[in-house]
Amino acid sequence: MWTDRYTIAFHAYPYERAVDQDRSAPARHPVVIVGGGPVGMATALDLGLKGVPALVLDDHDGIGMGSRAICISKRTLEIADRMGCGDELADKGVVWNLGKVFHQDRKVFEFNLLAERGHKFPAFVNLQQPYFEKVLVDRIRAAQAEGAPIEIRGRNRVQDLTVRADGVDLDIQTPDGPYRIEADWVVGCDGANSPVRTALGLDFEGRVFEDSFLIADVRMKAGFPTERWFWFDPPFKSGASALLHKQPDDVWRIDFQIGWNVDRKEELREEKVRARVSEMLGPDVEYELVWSSIYTFQCRRMRQFRHGRVLFAGDSAHQVSPFGARGANSGIQDADNLAWKLDLVLRNLAPEGLLDSYSHERVQGADENVLNSTRATDFITPKSEMSRIFRDAVLNLSEHHAFARPLVNSGRLSVPCVYDGSPLNGPDALPGGPDRSRVGSPCPDATLENGYLLGLLGDGFTLLTIGTDAPDEIIVDGIPVRRLHLPAEEAVIERYLGDAHSAVYLIRPDQHVAARWPDFDASAVRAALRRTIGKA
């Protein structure tokens, strides 16, 4: 047996002997997901809810400890809601809107994420990652009970992969010894050090940032408001920068920037961690140290996220610095993008080439995230004398003048990628249509009489109509497209109609806009749908 790489918070999928281990010939699975973190579980859940058998292999028997990816973005909540667990995340999480930025002992400015009205979910909630993963696994258990073909195998470690033109052989190690299975498709969701990526000898290049950050999760009854507080050169000398965030259960997350050449073991000694925390909170504040860790990071991605029958999602495909909450949130967008495409390909409704668009679109998302998080990192941890001089000049000016505040970068918070220029995009042929719902955009939410728009969209292809007519359902190449008619209410006008008098939107299963026109035209919709599934 192997030893765990981390402590388990919830033993959510203990090892059980699977029937595959007693077969004389390897069993064949449509989709095998390697890695049971949030991205792997979201991919499995999305596939399973569509009726695609999904097998998750995880080398641990549950969910790891540690707050890690705490900021869950609105888009992630919306995707989770499509899969039936958005409310659970939002209810457990801590909603925050206000961010304050300090330079030394002075507040230089604050920002408010308060979203416009008519959205089901807030801009962000904070939730420790184990809770996020637990919600996904609980949702999988509920879906399984309703017949969703999802299986999670704990303590199943992939030892080797053999990729062929039409599938992949996986050699798996378990507490009962090895066995082999076959997969039509493998999704590598096995994290930044991805053993799948390594086994295939694939590239993973980018920029290393020479700095370390110490995370301390502390439980206390503190008077801090539910806000994001960020310090450049804080007056307490616990780090070159510091970030304070509220989490559920009276737990606060503190990140200290502690420099590159540190002795990790020494820095993680409890007395040493407590010294930093106490210097920040003051000598009289009582707290319990819940968890601490040191992280370093790189900004990098694989050149392609599809390699034949193997796809990569989440940290295995791309890594960013943590400023901006663009790690796990982008991984969930990977799952959102991939699941419907795998579903159509496995049902022979779309050509295999559709999966190349997964790589195309999510590489675009990764590049956006790498760019934003690299810029934030360069601002937070200036690496030359002149970059520090300009950084401090921006901070000093911000305290006095509004013009400099947009230059302050303590992390540009995650927003979903608009797939501009995607090969799947159909015509953007709605003159006067709002820019925010242009082709490639994720649909903006809106309150309607019978619920939220995104909830009504569901997870198939949808034809949104506003102020014009269309058939209730059309079927293109075996794929149903259901119509959803929207009343021309204020939010709908603002978010979907703009200056147009009527609109027809073709929406993909991941709720991104595939095409839009002023009126319904059967042949135009047919052509756009064929394009969106990779047939044109």
Partner: protein, 67 residues
């Protein structure tokens, strides 16, 4: 499309230059560097136009002594 002004445009060049230097009087090198950085940011905001700013950065970069 706006173009960077590279013909003389400052009214009273000698007075401006003297004022610029006077602003640095008595400052340490670090304080002067900080003042220059703040001044660049203030002026950049006044220009605002991204294309003009790009031309200004390129012009400053390229204007090194001829060898």
């Amino acid at each position: 499309m706006s173009a960077l002004t590279l013909s003389p445009n400052i009214v009273g060049p000698d007075e401006f230059y003297a004022e610029l230097l006077a602003a640095h009087d008595g400052l340490s090198k670090a304080e002067s560097d900080a003042l220059n950085a703040r001044l660049i940011l203030v002026l950049a905001n006044q220009i605002g136009d991204r294309e003009t700013l790009s031309q200004a950065i390129a012009t400053a970069r390229d204007a090194v002594p001829k060898s």
